[in-house]
Symmetry: C2
Subunit: 207 residues, 2 copies
């Protein structure tokens, strides 16, 4: 069984390998990879060994092969269909962020309950009214929903999505959403990056 800590590091491995591949690096040692990800080389080797990746002794790991393998472990080849609910400022930024498509995710539908936004062009699609949610989720085989509505609206939206068959929720609203067993939820809180900066700056910049 692979530990949760190892699983949670996989997206970081994948992103980091993608970045170094863009820099033209073809082989990376567990030392260098550890520095970039922020874990010890021993942990790197342990994590990757649990997926059958042992690298080339004294050399390191082949970046492209390792990235592809981790992408498969992450299930990115599945090409998930996504719905986004709440086409406001954050929803708009996410809907138009090209990196998700590069990773194999396709946004198939966007919903909003503001009549001024319904019918608006959003990239290649039009914003749909909430009334079309259930039918669209079934027709477009949507597995993941991104929730970018205000906190007060989030639970009701989640309930509808789950009833319609959505199995994964990426929630940005600053509220706890209750989901039944069998539904995965990722609560995204952007304050984590900012508090990390605060830690380092409070030591760099004397009071």
């Amino acid at each position: 069984a692979i530990s949760k800590a190892t699983i949670d590091r996989l997206p970081l491995y994948f992103r980091t390998l993608g970045q170094i591949r863009e820099e033209g690096v073809e082989i990376i040692s567990s030392d260098e990879l550890g520095k970039k990800i922020g874990v010890t080389p021993e942990q790197i080797r342990k994590d990757l060994a649990s997926f059958g990746e042992f690298g080339k002794k004294g050399v390191g790991y082949y970046v492209t092969d390792l990235a592809r393998h981790i992408g498969e472990i992450l299930g990115l080849h599945r090409g998930w269909h996504i719905a986004l609910i709440g086409y406001g400022q954050l929803g708009g930024a996410l809907a138009n962020y090209p990196n998700f498509k590069t990773l194999g995710f396709s946004i198939k539908a966007i919903f909003d309950d503001n009549t001024a936004k319904v019918g608006k062009q959003a990239g290649e699609m039009k914003v749909q009214p909430l009334a079309e949610l259930e039918e669209t989720i079934r027709r477009e085989d949507i597995s993941i929903a991104v929730i970018t509505v205000p906190a007060g609206a989030a639970q009701a939206i989640a309930d509808r999505l789950i009833a319609a068959g959505v199995k994964g929720i990426w929630n940005f609203a600053p509220t706890k959403i209750n989901v039944p067993p069998g539904v995965r939820i990722c609560n995204e809180d952007l304050s984590v990056g900012l508090t990390g900066l605060s830690y380092y700056l409070s030591r760099d910049i004397p009071e």
Copy 2:
């Protein structure tokens, strides 16, 4: 010396403790805290011991006290002044997200180089033109800058910010930004949450 892995977990500790405090929980065991954060109880105890937190044997940690202590370690009491550059969709969502203020961060200035956006009301402030960047950073004692401009504009903006005295950069643009020693940079990539969902769903939902 505290390990980088432990430091990187601190913002997660802080956020998790805040969430359970909102749920009214006053004491939490290392077992329960470990489950919520995704590390072993042994790692929890090891991390917290490195900050002088040992909890109450057989009982656990007092949530409010621990949250306050970790907040101090994270430097949140410093009340950092922040500038945001690029008042588009993502910038707009971040500028209006109340959680940052709750954590003690204050957005003191917002900049954009689109004349249609300059002068626009953004919460309690007006969007300023780039020409006012250097003077505003000095006057408002800004230490952290949030970069939410397109990828092609990011490095030039970072160079100006650093020359003006900014010490920390929170970068959302999907590009590598070069910074000199003494400047901290956090590159935020939202795809990490989505790839994590993909891992779990690819096992929940058979192909």
